[in-house]
Symmetry: C2
Subunit: 321 residues, 2 copies
Amino acid sequence: MMSSHVNIEIPTIDDVLEARERIKGHVKMTPVLTSSSIDEMTGASIFFKCENFQRVGAFKFRGACNAVFSLSEEEAKNGVATHSSGNHAQALALAARERGIKAYIVMPSTAPKVKVEGVRGYGGEIIFCEPTLEARERGLAEVIERTAAHFIHPYDDPRVIAGQATAALELVERIRDLDIVMAPVGGGGLLSGTSISVRTRSPGTAVYAAEPAGADDAYRSLKEGVLLPSVEPRTIADGLLTSLSALTFGIISSNVDEILRVDEENIILAMRHIWERMKVIVEPSAAVPLGAVLQHGNIFKGKRVGIILSGGNVDLTALPW
Amino acid sequence: MMSSHVNIEIPTIDDVLEARERIKGHVKMTPVLTSSSIDEMTGASIFFKCENFQRVGAFKFRGACNAVFSLSEEEAKNGVATHSSGNHAQALALAARERGIKAYIVMPSTAPKVKVEGVRGYGGEIIFCEPTLEARERGLAEVIERTAAHFIHPYDDPRVIAGQATAALELVERIRDLDIVMAPVGGGGLLSGTSISVRTRSPGTAVYAAEPAGADDAYRSLKEGVLLPSVEPRTIADGLLTSLSALTFGIISSNVDEILRVDEENIILAMRHIWERMKVIVEPSAAVPLGAVLQHGNIFKGKRVGIILSGGNVDLTALPW
Protein backbone atom coordinates (compact mmCIF):
# COMPACT_ATOMS: atom_id res chain seq x y z
CA MET A 1 0.00 0.00 0.00
CA MET A 2 1.32 3.42 -0.96
CA SER A 3 -0.30 5.33 1.86
CA SER A 4 -3.10 5.10 4.36
CA HIS A 5 -5.69 6.34 1.91
CA VAL A 6 -4.84 4.29 -1.16
CA ASN A 7 -5.84 0.68 -1.48
CA ILE A 8 -5.78 -0.85 -4.92
CA GLU A 9 -7.21 -4.24 -4.10
CA ILE A 10 -10.17 -5.32 -6.18
CA PRO A 11 -13.20 -5.84 -3.95
CA THR A 12 -14.72 -9.30 -3.80
CA ILE A 13 -18.30 -10.37 -3.22
CA ASP A 14 -17.34 -10.93 0.43
CA ASP A 15 -16.42 -7.27 0.64
CA VAL A 16 -19.83 -6.46 -0.84
CA LEU A 17 -21.66 -8.65 1.67
CA GLU A 18 -19.69 -7.03 4.49
CA ALA A 19 -20.54 -3.62 3.07
CA ARG A 20 -24.22 -4.49 3.12
CA GLU A 21 -24.05 -5.37 6.82
CA ARG A 22 -21.98 -2.28 7.59
CA ILE A 23 -24.32 0.22 5.92
CA LYS A 24 -27.60 -1.43 6.92
CA GLY A 25 -29.53 0.99 9.08
CA HIS A 26 -28.03 3.92 7.22
CA VAL A 27 -29.05 3.27 3.62
CA LYS A 28 -32.53 2.71 2.26
CA MET A 29 -33.56 -0.58 0.72
CA THR A 30 -34.86 1.13 -2.41
CA PRO A 31 -37.86 -0.25 -4.31
CA VAL A 32 -37.82 -1.87 -7.75
CA LEU A 33 -40.45 -0.34 -10.04
CA THR A 34 -41.85 -1.48 -13.37
CA SER A 35 -43.88 0.32 -16.00
CA SER A 36 -46.24 -1.51 -18.32
CA SER A 37 -46.21 1.37 -20.77
CA ILE A 38 -42.40 1.44 -20.98
CA ASP A 39 -42.43 -2.35 -21.36
CA GLU A 40 -44.95 -2.05 -24.20
CA MET A 41 -42.87 0.65 -25.84
CA THR A 42 -39.59 -1.29 -25.70
CA GLY A 43 -40.78 -4.90 -25.96
CA ALA A 44 -38.64 -5.70 -22.90
CA SER A 45 -39.47 -6.34 -19.23
CA ILE A 46 -37.57 -3.67 -17.37
CA PHE A 47 -37.00 -3.59 -13.61
CA PHE A 48 -35.86 -0.22 -12.34
CA LYS A 49 -33.85 -0.21 -9.11
CA CYS A 50 -34.66 3.23 -7.74
CA GLU A 51 -31.44 4.60 -6.29
CA ASN A 52 -32.80 8.06 -6.97
CA PHE A 53 -34.87 7.39 -3.83
CA GLN A 54 -31.68 6.60 -1.90
CA ARG A 55 -30.64 9.07 0.78
CA VAL A 56 -29.07 12.21 -0.78
CA GLY A 57 -30.94 11.19 -3.94
CA ALA A 58 -28.28 8.90 -5.42
CA PHE A 59 -26.51 5.53 -5.09
CA LYS A 60 -23.40 7.46 -4.05
CA PHE A 61 -24.50 7.33 -0.42
CA ARG A 62 -23.92 3.57 -0.36
CA GLY A 63 -20.24 3.84 -1.29
CA ALA A 64 -19.53 6.89 0.85
CA CYS A 65 -21.23 5.24 3.80
CA ASN A 66 -19.28 2.00 3.43
CA ALA A 67 -16.00 3.89 3.14
CA VAL A 68 -16.68 6.10 6.17
CA PHE A 69 -17.80 3.23 8.39
CA SER A 70 -14.85 1.08 7.24
CA LEU A 71 -12.39 3.49 8.81
CA SER A 72 -10.70 2.60 12.09
CA GLU A 73 -11.17 5.02 14.97
CA GLU A 74 -7.65 6.24 14.30
CA GLU A 75 -8.30 6.79 10.58
CA ALA A 76 -11.64 8.48 11.23
CA LYS A 77 -10.67 10.81 14.02
CA ASN A 78 -9.66 13.75 11.82
CA GLY A 79 -12.61 13.44 9.51
CA VAL A 80 -12.84 12.75 5.80
CA ALA A 81 -12.22 14.87 2.73
CA THR A 82 -12.92 14.83 -0.98
CA HIS A 83 -13.29 17.06 -3.98
CA SER A 84 -16.57 16.87 -5.82
CA SER A 85 -19.26 19.13 -7.11
CA GLY A 86 -21.69 16.27 -7.48
CA ASN A 87 -23.57 13.64 -5.55
CA HIS A 88 -20.46 12.23 -3.84
CA ALA A 89 -20.01 15.53 -1.99
CA GLN A 90 -23.43 15.33 -0.33
CA ALA A 91 -23.09 11.59 0.21
CA LEU A 92 -19.79 11.94 2.04
CA ALA A 93 -21.06 14.84 4.13
CA LEU A 94 -24.08 12.84 5.29
CA ALA A 95 -22.08 9.64 5.91
CA ALA A 96 -19.60 11.61 8.01
CA ARG A 97 -22.41 13.21 9.99
CA GLU A 98 -23.88 9.78 10.70
CA ARG A 99 -20.51 8.64 12.03
CA GLY A 100 -20.08 11.87 13.96
CA ILE A 101 -16.93 13.03 12.20
CA LYS A 102 -16.11 16.03 10.06
CA ALA A 103 -16.30 16.16 6.26
CA TYR A 104 -14.25 18.63 4.23
CA ILE A 105 -15.51 19.09 0.70
CA VAL A 106 -13.48 20.97 -1.91
CA MET A 107 -15.93 22.41 -4.43
CA PRO A 108 -15.44 24.68 -7.42
CA SER A 109 -16.67 28.23 -6.83
CA THR A 110 -19.03 27.67 -9.78
CA ALA A 111 -20.89 24.73 -8.16
CA PRO A 112 -24.69 25.09 -8.28
CA LYS A 113 -26.12 26.74 -5.19
CA VAL A 114 -28.43 23.79 -4.54
CA LYS A 115 -25.45 21.41 -4.27
CA VAL A 116 -23.54 23.79 -2.00
CA GLU A 117 -26.59 24.08 0.25
CA GLY A 118 -27.03 20.32 0.18
CA VAL A 119 -23.50 19.76 1.51
CA ARG A 120 -23.95 22.49 4.14
CA GLY A 121 -27.30 21.02 5.14
CA TYR A 122 -25.55 17.75 5.97
CA GLY A 123 -22.97 19.63 8.03
CA GLY A 124 -20.10 19.41 5.56
CA GLU A 125 -17.39 22.09 5.60
CA ILE A 126 -16.92 23.52 2.12
CA ILE A 127 -13.61 24.80 0.77
CA PHE A 128 -14.12 26.67 -2.49
CA CYS A 129 -11.53 26.59 -5.27
CA GLU A 130 -11.18 27.69 -8.87
CA PRO A 131 -13.15 25.49 -11.28
CA THR A 132 -10.19 23.52 -12.67
CA LEU A 133 -9.13 19.98 -11.90
CA GLU A 134 -5.69 21.24 -10.89
CA ALA A 135 -7.16 23.74 -8.41
CA ARG A 136 -9.44 21.06 -6.98
CA GLU A 137 -6.57 18.66 -6.43
CA ARG A 138 -4.40 21.38 -4.92
CA GLY A 139 -7.30 22.47 -2.70
CA LEU A 140 -7.77 18.92 -1.52
CA ALA A 141 -4.05 18.44 -0.82
CA GLU A 142 -4.05 21.62 1.26
CA VAL A 143 -7.08 20.53 3.25
CA ILE A 144 -5.57 17.15 3.99
CA GLU A 145 -2.25 18.77 4.94
CA ARG A 146 -4.06 21.11 7.31
CA THR A 147 -6.60 18.71 8.85
CA ALA A 148 -5.11 15.23 8.42
CA ALA A 149 -8.54 14.16 7.16
CA HIS A 150 -8.86 10.82 5.37
CA PHE A 151 -9.37 11.13 1.60
CA ILE A 152 -12.34 9.26 0.13
CA HIS A 153 -12.24 9.25 -3.66
CA PRO A 154 -15.62 9.19 -5.41
CA TYR A 155 -14.91 5.92 -7.23
CA ASP A 156 -11.23 4.94 -7.27
CA ASP A 157 -11.55 3.15 -3.95
CA PRO A 158 -12.49 -0.50 -3.29
CA ARG A 159 -14.54 0.44 -0.21
CA VAL A 160 -16.60 2.83 -2.31
CA ILE A 161 -17.02 0.25 -5.07
CA ALA A 162 -18.11 -2.42 -2.58
CA GLY A 163 -20.73 -0.02 -1.24
CA GLN A 164 -22.08 0.83 -4.70
CA ALA A 165 -22.26 -2.92 -5.41
CA THR A 166 -24.96 -3.39 -2.78
CA ALA A 167 -27.60 -1.80 -5.04
CA ALA A 168 -27.23 -4.48 -7.75
CA LEU A 169 -26.97 -7.13 -5.03
CA GLU A 170 -30.42 -6.13 -3.75
CA LEU A 171 -31.73 -6.08 -7.32
CA VAL A 172 -30.57 -9.57 -8.35
CA GLU A 173 -31.67 -11.06 -5.03
CA ARG A 174 -35.15 -9.59 -5.45
CA ILE A 175 -35.67 -10.06 -9.21
CA ARG A 176 -34.61 -13.47 -10.46
CA ASP A 177 -33.65 -14.60 -13.95
CA LEU A 178 -32.64 -11.26 -15.35
CA ASP A 179 -31.05 -11.54 -18.79
CA ILE A 180 -29.18 -8.25 -18.47
CA VAL A 181 -28.33 -5.78 -15.73
CA MET A 182 -27.33 -2.34 -16.96
CA ALA A 183 -25.81 0.66 -15.20
CA PRO A 184 -24.55 3.99 -16.48
CA VAL A 185 -20.78 4.52 -16.56
CA GLY A 186 -18.81 7.66 -15.71
CA GLY A 187 -15.89 7.04 -13.37
CA GLY A 188 -16.97 3.43 -13.19
CA GLY A 189 -17.62 2.98 -9.46
CA LEU A 190 -21.26 1.99 -9.84
CA LEU A 191 -20.57 -0.16 -12.88
CA SER A 192 -17.64 -1.94 -11.21
CA GLY A 193 -19.68 -2.70 -8.12
CA THR A 194 -22.69 -3.77 -10.18
CA SER A 195 -20.53 -6.16 -12.20
CA ILE A 196 -19.08 -7.79 -9.08
CA SER A 197 -22.52 -8.43 -7.58
CA VAL A 198 -24.11 -9.66 -10.80
CA ARG A 199 -21.21 -11.89 -11.91
CA THR A 200 -21.14 -13.72 -8.59
CA ARG A 201 -24.77 -13.73 -7.48
CA SER A 202 -26.50 -14.10 -10.84
CA PRO A 203 -23.91 -15.67 -13.14
CA GLY A 204 -26.38 -16.20 -15.98
CA THR A 205 -27.03 -12.47 -16.26
CA ALA A 206 -25.04 -10.28 -18.66
CA VAL A 207 -23.64 -6.96 -17.43
CA TYR A 208 -24.08 -4.00 -19.77
CA ALA A 209 -23.10 -0.39 -19.40
CA ALA A 210 -24.66 2.66 -20.98
CA GLU A 211 -22.48 5.67 -21.75
CA PRO A 212 -23.24 9.01 -23.39
CA ALA A 213 -21.81 9.03 -26.94
CA GLY A 214 -20.42 12.48 -26.13
CA ALA A 215 -18.38 11.14 -23.18
CA ASP A 216 -17.43 7.67 -24.40
CA ASP A 217 -14.03 7.16 -22.77
CA ALA A 218 -15.09 3.85 -21.20
CA TYR A 219 -16.31 2.54 -24.55
CA ARG A 220 -13.07 3.56 -26.27
CA SER A 221 -10.92 2.25 -23.42
CA LEU A 222 -12.51 -1.18 -23.53
CA LYS A 223 -12.28 -1.30 -27.31
CA GLU A 224 -8.60 -0.34 -27.34
CA GLY A 225 -7.72 -2.34 -24.26
CA VAL A 226 -5.98 0.65 -22.68
CA LEU A 227 -7.24 3.26 -20.27
CA LEU A 228 -8.05 6.37 -22.33
CA PRO A 229 -9.00 9.64 -20.68
CA SER A 230 -12.25 11.49 -21.18
CA VAL A 231 -11.39 14.33 -23.60
CA GLU A 232 -13.67 17.35 -23.70
CA PRO A 233 -16.77 15.33 -22.84
CA ARG A 234 -20.04 16.95 -23.89
CA THR A 235 -23.29 15.55 -22.55
CA ILE A 236 -26.33 16.58 -20.56
CA ALA A 237 -25.53 13.59 -18.30
CA ASP A 238 -23.34 15.65 -15.99
CA GLY A 239 -22.67 12.78 -13.60
CA LEU A 240 -20.84 10.84 -16.34
CA LEU A 241 -18.14 13.30 -17.39
CA THR A 242 -15.28 11.68 -15.46
CA SER A 243 -12.80 9.07 -16.73
CA LEU A 244 -12.31 5.53 -15.50
CA SER A 245 -9.48 4.91 -13.06
CA ALA A 246 -6.97 2.08 -13.31
CA LEU A 247 -8.99 0.18 -10.70
CA THR A 248 -12.40 0.57 -12.34
CA PHE A 249 -10.92 -0.03 -15.80
CA GLY A 250 -9.49 -3.33 -14.60
CA ILE A 251 -12.74 -4.51 -13.04
CA ILE A 252 -14.87 -3.41 -15.98
CA SER A 253 -12.49 -5.02 -18.51
CA SER A 254 -12.92 -8.37 -16.78
CA ASN A 255 -16.61 -8.23 -15.95
CA VAL A 256 -18.61 -6.13 -18.39
CA ASP A 257 -20.03 -7.69 -21.54
CA GLU A 258 -20.81 -4.58 -23.51
CA ILE A 259 -20.80 -0.79 -23.34
CA LEU A 260 -23.52 0.87 -25.40
CA ARG A 261 -23.20 4.48 -26.50
CA VAL A 262 -26.27 6.67 -26.29
CA ASP A 263 -27.02 9.88 -28.18
CA GLU A 264 -28.19 13.00 -26.37
CA GLU A 265 -31.67 12.88 -27.90
CA ASN A 266 -32.24 9.37 -26.57
CA ILE A 267 -30.99 10.35 -23.11
CA ILE A 268 -33.49 13.21 -23.00
CA LEU A 269 -36.29 11.06 -24.44
CA ALA A 270 -35.61 8.33 -21.88
CA MET A 271 -35.56 10.87 -19.07
CA ARG A 272 -38.90 12.22 -20.17
CA HIS A 273 -40.43 8.74 -20.44
CA ILE A 274 -39.31 7.94 -16.88
CA TRP A 275 -40.78 11.19 -15.58
CA GLU A 276 -44.04 10.91 -17.50
CA ARG A 277 -44.76 7.22 -17.39
CA MET A 278 -43.25 6.27 -14.04
CA LYS A 279 -43.78 9.56 -12.17
CA VAL A 280 -40.22 9.28 -10.98
CA ILE A 281 -37.64 12.07 -11.05
CA VAL A 282 -34.29 11.03 -12.47
CA GLU A 283 -31.32 13.11 -13.43
CA PRO A 284 -30.04 12.79 -17.02
CA SER A 285 -27.23 10.39 -16.05
CA ALA A 286 -29.78 7.96 -14.63
CA ALA A 287 -31.74 7.93 -17.88
CA VAL A 288 -28.79 6.79 -20.01
CA PRO A 289 -29.50 3.03 -19.65
CA LEU A 290 -33.12 3.41 -20.79
CA GLY A 291 -31.73 5.62 -23.56
CA ALA A 292 -29.59 2.62 -24.57
CA VAL A 293 -32.69 0.44 -24.71
CA LEU A 294 -34.42 2.99 -26.94
CA GLN A 295 -31.37 3.35 -29.21
CA HIS A 296 -30.36 -0.32 -29.42
CA GLY A 297 -33.84 -1.83 -29.20
CA ASN A 298 -33.15 -5.13 -30.94
CA ILE A 299 -30.68 -6.18 -28.22
CA PHE A 300 -33.36 -5.93 -25.53
CA LYS A 301 -36.55 -7.22 -27.19
CA GLY A 302 -38.10 -10.01 -25.14
CA LYS A 303 -35.41 -9.71 -22.46
CA ARG A 304 -35.69 -9.23 -18.70
CA VAL A 305 -33.55 -6.19 -18.00
CA GLY A 306 -32.54 -4.70 -14.65
CA ILE A 307 -31.57 -1.02 -14.72
CA ILE A 308 -30.01 0.97 -11.92
CA LEU A 309 -31.65 4.39 -11.79
CA SER A 310 -28.58 6.07 -10.37
CA GLY A 311 -29.89 9.38 -9.07
CA GLY A 312 -32.51 12.09 -9.10
CA ASN A 313 -30.73 15.33 -8.30
CA VAL A 314 -31.80 17.74 -10.98
CA ASP A 315 -32.64 21.42 -11.10
CA LEU A 316 -36.44 21.47 -11.29
CA THR A 317 -36.40 24.94 -12.79
CA ALA A 318 -34.19 24.01 -15.76
CA LEU A 319 -35.62 20.92 -17.42
CA PRO A 320 -34.39 19.88 -20.85
CA TRP A 321 -37.79 20.08 -22.56
CA MET B 1 -82.51 0.20 -6.71
CA MET B 2 -83.58 3.00 -9.01
CA SER B 3 -81.96 1.66 -12.15
CA SER B 4 -79.28 -0.71 -13.28
CA HIS B 5 -76.51 1.85 -12.83
CA VAL B 6 -77.42 3.33 -9.48
CA ASN B 7 -76.63 1.54 -6.28
CA ILE B 8 -76.67 3.56 -3.10
CA GLU B 9 -75.53 0.93 -0.66
CA ILE B 10 -72.59 1.85 1.51
CA PRO B 11 -69.69 -0.51 0.84
CA THR B 12 -68.43 -2.63 3.73
CA ILE B 13 -64.97 -3.96 4.45
CA ASP B 14 -66.10 -7.24 2.87
CA ASP B 15 -66.75 -5.37 -0.35
CA VAL B 16 -63.25 -3.94 -0.06
CA LEU B 17 -61.69 -7.36 0.48
CA GLU B 18 -63.63 -8.70 -2.50
CA ALA B 19 -62.48 -5.73 -4.55
CA ARG B 20 -58.88 -6.50 -3.68
CA GLU B 21 -59.25 -10.07 -4.98
CA ARG B 22 -61.11 -8.89 -8.07
CA ILE B 23 -58.54 -6.31 -9.16
CA LYS B 24 -55.45 -8.29 -8.18
CA GLY B 25 -53.42 -8.94 -11.30
CA HIS B 26 -54.62 -5.67 -12.80
CA VAL B 27 -53.50 -3.08 -10.26
CA LYS B 28 -50.04 -2.51 -8.91
CA MET B 29 -49.20 -3.08 -5.26
CA THR B 30 -47.65 0.38 -4.92
CA PRO B 31 -44.69 1.00 -2.61
CA VAL B 32 -44.72 3.01 0.62
CA LEU B 33 -41.89 5.55 0.71
CA THR B 34 -40.45 7.61 3.53
CA SER B 35 -38.19 10.64 3.55
CA SER B 36 -35.89 11.42 6.43
CA SER B 37 -35.61 15.03 5.35
CA ILE B 38 -39.39 15.53 5.26
CA ASP B 39 -39.63 13.80 8.64
CA GLU B 40 -36.96 16.14 10.02
CA MET B 41 -38.77 19.15 8.58
CA THR B 42 -42.20 18.21 10.00
CA GLY B 43 -41.27 16.38 13.20
CA ALA B 44 -43.58 13.55 12.14
CA SER B 45 -42.95 10.07 10.70
CA ILE B 46 -44.72 10.10 7.37
CA PHE B 47 -45.42 7.04 5.23
CA PHE B 48 -46.37 7.88 1.66
CA LYS B 49 -48.49 5.34 -0.19
CA CYS B 50 -47.48 6.00 -3.78
CA GLU B 51 -50.65 5.77 -5.85
CA ASN B 52 -49.01 8.11 -8.32
CA PHE B 53 -47.11 4.97 -9.38
CA GLN B 54 -50.43 3.16 -9.91
CA ARG B 55 -51.38 2.34 -13.49
CA VAL B 56 -52.64 5.46 -15.32
CA GLY B 57 -50.74 7.41 -12.67
CA ALA B 58 -53.51 7.60 -10.06
CA PHE B 59 -55.52 5.64 -7.49
CA LYS B 60 -58.53 6.04 -9.81
CA PHE B 61 -57.58 2.85 -11.63
CA ARG B 62 -58.45 0.80 -8.54
CA GLY B 63 -62.05 1.99 -8.42
CA ALA B 64 -62.61 1.90 -12.17
CA CYS B 65 -61.16 -1.59 -12.33
CA ASN B 66 -63.32 -2.88 -9.49
CA ALA B 67 -66.44 -1.39 -11.06
CA VAL B 68 -65.71 -2.76 -14.53
CA PHE B 69 -64.89 -6.27 -13.29
CA SER B 70 -67.94 -6.25 -10.98
CA LEU B 71 -70.28 -6.07 -13.97
CA SER B 72 -72.15 -9.16 -15.07
CA GLU B 73 -71.63 -10.30 -18.66
CA GLU B 74 -75.01 -8.81 -19.47
CA GLU B 75 -74.18 -5.46 -17.87
CA ALA B 76 -70.75 -5.35 -19.49
CA LYS B 77 -71.65 -6.35 -23.02
CA ASN B 78 -72.35 -2.84 -24.32
CA GLY B 79 -69.32 -1.29 -22.66
CA VAL B 80 -69.02 1.44 -20.04
CA ALA B 81 -69.36 5.20 -20.18
CA THR B 82 -68.52 8.22 -18.09
CA HIS B 83 -67.88 11.93 -18.32
CA SER B 84 -64.57 13.11 -17.03
CA SER B 85 -61.66 15.21 -18.10
CA GLY B 86 -59.45 13.81 -15.40
CA ASN B 87 -57.83 10.62 -14.16
CA HIS B 88 -61.11 8.66 -14.03
CA ALA B 89 -61.38 8.92 -17.83
CA GLN B 90 -58.05 7.18 -18.42
CA ALA B 91 -58.68 4.73 -15.59
CA LEU B 92 -62.02 3.64 -17.03
CA ALA B 93 -60.62 3.35 -20.55
CA LEU B 94 -57.80 1.08 -19.37
CA ALA B 95 -60.05 -1.02 -17.12
CA ALA B 96 -62.46 -1.55 -20.02
CA ARG B 97 -59.61 -2.54 -22.33
CA GLU B 98 -58.45 -5.10 -19.79
CA ARG B 99 -61.92 -6.58 -19.70
CA GLY B 100 -62.20 -6.43 -23.47
CA ILE B 101 -65.19 -4.09 -23.61
CA LYS B 102 -65.69 -0.60 -24.99
CA ALA B 103 -65.34 2.62 -23.02
CA TYR B 104 -67.12 5.83 -24.06
CA ILE B 105 -65.71 8.94 -22.47
CA VAL B 106 -67.48 12.29 -22.70
CA MET B 107 -64.85 15.02 -22.44
CA PRO B 108 -65.05 18.79 -22.72
CA SER B 109 -63.59 20.12 -25.97
CA THR B 110 -61.16 22.12 -23.81
CA ALA B 111 -59.61 19.03 -22.16
CA PRO B 112 -55.79 19.05 -22.22
CA LYS B 113 -54.37 17.23 -25.25
CA VAL B 114 -52.30 14.94 -23.01
CA LYS B 115 -55.46 13.63 -21.30
CA VAL B 116 -57.26 13.16 -24.61
CA GLU B 117 -54.28 11.21 -25.95
CA GLY B 118 -54.12 9.20 -22.75
CA VAL B 119 -57.72 8.04 -23.13
CA ARG B 120 -57.17 7.26 -26.83
CA GLY B 121 -53.99 5.40 -26.02
CA TYR B 122 -55.99 3.05 -23.80
CA GLY B 123 -58.51 2.52 -26.60
CA GLY B 124 -61.31 4.69 -25.20
CA GLU B 125 -63.79 6.33 -27.57
CA ILE B 126 -64.03 10.04 -26.90
CA ILE B 127 -67.17 12.11 -27.37
CA PHE B 128 -66.42 15.82 -27.15
CA CYS B 129 -68.89 18.30 -25.67
CA GLU B 130 -69.02 21.93 -24.63
CA PRO B 131 -67.13 22.64 -21.39
CA THR B 132 -70.15 22.94 -19.11
CA LEU B 133 -71.51 20.46 -16.61
CA GLU B 134 -74.88 20.54 -18.35
CA ALA B 135 -73.35 19.71 -21.74
CA ARG B 136 -71.33 16.89 -20.19
CA GLU B 137 -74.37 15.34 -18.60
CA ARG B 138 -76.39 15.69 -21.78
CA GLY B 139 -73.51 14.21 -23.79
CA LEU B 140 -73.34 11.27 -21.44
CA ALA B 141 -77.10 10.69 -21.58
CA GLU B 142 -76.95 10.68 -25.37
CA VAL B 143 -74.08 8.19 -25.42
CA ILE B 144 -75.87 5.84 -23.05
CA GLU B 145 -79.08 6.17 -25.06
CA ARG B 146 -77.19 5.32 -28.26
CA THR B 147 -74.91 2.55 -26.97
CA ALA B 148 -76.65 1.15 -23.88
CA ALA B 149 -73.26 1.36 -22.16
CA HIS B 150 -73.13 1.05 -18.38
CA PHE B 151 -72.44 4.33 -16.55
CA ILE B 152 -69.56 4.33 -14.08
CA HIS B 153 -69.52 7.50 -11.99
CA PRO B 154 -66.08 8.69 -10.83
CA TYR B 155 -66.97 8.49 -7.15
CA ASP B 156 -70.71 8.26 -6.45
CA ASP B 157 -70.65 4.47 -6.75
CA PRO B 158 -70.01 1.88 -4.02
CA ARG B 159 -68.01 -0.33 -6.40
CA VAL B 160 -65.71 2.57 -7.17
CA ILE B 161 -65.38 3.45 -3.48
CA ALA B 162 -64.59 -0.17 -2.56
CA GLY B 163 -61.86 -0.18 -5.19
CA GLN B 164 -60.31 3.07 -3.96
CA ALA B 165 -60.39 1.63 -0.42
CA THR B 166 -57.83 -1.02 -1.37
CA ALA B 167 -55.00 1.53 -1.34
CA ALA B 168 -55.47 2.37 2.36
CA LEU B 169 -56.03 -1.31 3.08
CA GLU B 170 -52.56 -2.10 1.70
CA LEU B 171 -51.11 0.82 3.65
CA VAL B 172 -52.49 -0.13 7.08
CA GLU B 173 -51.62 -3.80 6.58
CA ARG B 174 -48.05 -2.91 5.72
CA ILE B 175 -47.41 -0.05 8.19
CA ARG B 176 -48.69 -0.78 11.67
CA ASP B 177 -49.58 1.60 14.48
CA LEU B 178 -50.29 4.66 12.41
CA ASP B 179 -51.75 7.51 14.46
CA ILE B 180 -53.38 9.15 11.46
CA VAL B 181 -54.15 8.26 7.86
CA MET B 182 -54.85 11.23 5.61
CA ALA B 183 -56.21 11.50 2.08
CA PRO B 184 -57.18 14.48 -0.08
CA VAL B 185 -60.89 15.11 -0.62
CA GLY B 186 -62.64 16.24 -3.79
CA GLY B 187 -65.69 14.17 -4.68
CA GLY B 188 -64.88 11.96 -1.71
CA GLY B 189 -64.42 8.55 -3.34
CA LEU B 190 -60.84 8.07 -2.16
CA LEU B 191 -61.56 9.51 1.28
CA SER B 192 -64.68 7.35 1.73
CA GLY B 193 -62.83 4.19 0.76
CA THR B 194 -59.85 5.13 2.90
CA SER B 195 -62.09 5.69 5.92
CA ILE B 196 -63.77 2.29 5.53
CA SER B 197 -60.45 0.44 5.39
CA VAL B 198 -58.84 2.35 8.24
CA ARG B 199 -61.86 2.28 10.59
CA THR B 200 -62.19 -1.48 10.30
CA ARG B 201 -58.62 -2.70 9.84
CA SER B 202 -56.80 -0.21 12.07
CA PRO B 203 -59.40 1.06 14.54
CA GLY B 204 -56.87 2.96 16.65
CA THR B 205 -55.93 5.17 13.69
CA ALA B 206 -57.65 8.51 13.09
CA VAL B 207 -58.85 9.40 9.59
CA TYR B 208 -58.10 12.93 8.40
CA ALA B 209 -58.84 14.65 5.14
CA ALA B 210 -56.99 17.51 3.51
CA GLU B 211 -58.90 19.93 1.32
CA PRO B 212 -57.83 23.08 -0.55
CA ALA B 213 -59.11 26.15 1.30
CA GLY B 214 -60.28 27.45 -2.08
CA ALA B 215 -62.53 24.40 -2.64
CA ASP B 216 -63.68 23.63 0.88
CA ASP B 217 -67.16 22.23 0.30
CA ALA B 218 -66.43 19.04 2.24
CA TYR B 219 -65.16 21.05 5.22
CA ARG B 220 -68.24 23.28 5.16
CA SER B 221 -70.62 20.35 4.61
CA LEU B 222 -69.27 18.46 7.61
CA LYS B 223 -69.36 21.56 9.77
CA GLU B 224 -72.96 22.38 8.82
CA GLY B 225 -74.11 18.78 8.78
CA VAL B 226 -75.67 19.19 5.35
CA LEU B 227 -74.32 18.52 1.90
CA LEU B 228 -73.19 21.86 0.46
CA PRO B 229 -72.07 22.17 -3.14
CA SER B 230 -68.69 23.37 -4.29
CA VAL B 231 -69.24 26.97 -5.39
CA GLU B 232 -66.74 28.51 -7.78
CA PRO B 233 -63.84 26.51 -6.41
CA ARG B 234 -60.41 28.00 -7.07
CA THR B 235 -57.33 25.90 -6.48
CA ILE B 236 -54.29 24.56 -8.29
CA ALA B 237 -55.40 21.12 -7.06
CA ASP B 238 -57.52 20.47 -10.14
CA GLY B 239 -58.49 16.95 -9.07
CA LEU B 240 -60.35 18.33 -6.04
CA LEU B 241 -62.81 20.75 -7.62
CA THR B 242 -65.87 18.47 -7.44
CA SER B 243 -68.48 18.30 -4.66
CA LEU B 244 -69.28 15.40 -2.38
CA SER B 245 -72.24 13.22 -3.33
CA ALA B 246 -74.94 12.08 -0.92
CA LEU B 247 -73.18 8.72 -0.69
CA THR B 248 -69.68 10.04 0.02
CA PHE B 249 -71.07 12.72 2.36
CA GLY B 250 -72.78 10.02 4.40
CA ILE B 251 -69.69 7.85 4.67
CA ILE B 252 -67.38 10.75 5.45
CA SER B 253 -69.77 12.16 8.08
CA SER B 254 -69.65 8.86 9.95
CA ASN B 255 -66.00 7.98 9.53
CA VAL B 256 -63.77 11.02 9.21
CA ASP B 257 -62.33 12.71 12.30
CA GLU B 258 -61.26 15.99 10.79
CA ILE B 259 -60.99 17.89 7.52
CA LEU B 260 -58.08 20.31 7.37
CA ARG B 261 -58.09 23.21 4.93
CA VAL B 262 -54.87 24.01 3.12
CA ASP B 263 -53.81 27.27 1.49
CA GLU B 264 -52.47 27.34 -2.05
CA GLU B 265 -48.97 28.33 -0.96
CA ASN B 266 -48.71 25.27 1.26
CA ILE B 267 -50.01 23.00 -1.50
CA ILE B 268 -47.31 24.27 -3.86
CA LEU B 269 -44.62 24.10 -1.16
CA ALA B 270 -45.60 20.53 -0.29
CA MET B 271 -45.58 19.56 -3.95
CA ARG B 272 -42.10 20.98 -4.34
CA HIS B 273 -40.82 19.19 -1.22
CA ILE B 274 -42.14 15.87 -2.53
CA TRP B 275 -40.48 16.42 -5.91
CA GLU B 276 -37.18 17.65 -4.49
CA ARG B 277 -36.74 15.49 -1.42
CA MET B 278 -38.44 12.28 -2.52
CA LYS B 279 -37.75 12.46 -6.29
CA VAL B 280 -41.37 11.58 -6.83
CA ILE B 281 -43.72 13.33 -9.24
CA VAL B 282 -47.09 14.21 -7.73
CA GLU B 283 -49.87 16.37 -9.07
CA PRO B 284 -51.01 19.29 -6.90
CA SER B 285 -54.03 17.37 -5.55
CA ALA B 286 -51.72 14.68 -4.18
CA ALA B 287 -49.65 17.25 -2.30
CA VAL B 288 -52.58 18.64 -0.31
CA PRO B 289 -52.17 16.24 2.67
CA LEU B 290 -48.49 17.13 3.12
CA GLY B 291 -49.61 20.74 2.73
CA ALA B 292 -51.92 20.12 5.70
CA VAL B 293 -48.99 18.82 7.74
CA LEU B 294 -47.00 21.96 6.89
CA GLN B 295 -49.91 24.27 7.71
CA HIS B 296 -51.19 22.53 10.85
CA GLY B 297 -47.84 21.28 12.13
CA ASN B 298 -48.69 20.99 15.81
CA ILE B 299 -51.33 18.33 15.12
CA PHE B 300 -48.76 16.02 13.54
CA LYS B 301 -45.61 16.47 15.65
CA GLY B 302 -44.36 13.13 16.93
CA LYS B 303 -47.12 11.24 15.11
CA ARG B 304 -46.95 8.33 12.68
CA VAL B 305 -48.89 9.55 9.65
CA GLY B 306 -49.92 7.63 6.54
CA ILE B 307 -50.60 9.76 3.46
CA ILE B 308 -52.13 8.60 0.19
CA LEU B 309 -50.24 10.25 -2.67
CA SER B 310 -53.22 10.20 -4.97
CA GLY B 311 -51.73 10.81 -8.40
CA GLY B 312 -48.89 12.09 -10.54
CA ASN B 313 -50.47 13.31 -13.75
CA VAL B 314 -49.11 16.78 -14.27
CA ASP B 315 -48.02 18.81 -17.25
CA LEU B 316 -44.22 18.73 -17.05
CA THR B 317 -43.95 21.87 -19.13
CA ALA B 318 -46.10 24.02 -16.81
CA LEU B 319 -44.83 23.61 -13.27
CA PRO B 320 -46.01 26.01 -10.56
CA TRP B 321 -42.54 27.29 -9.69
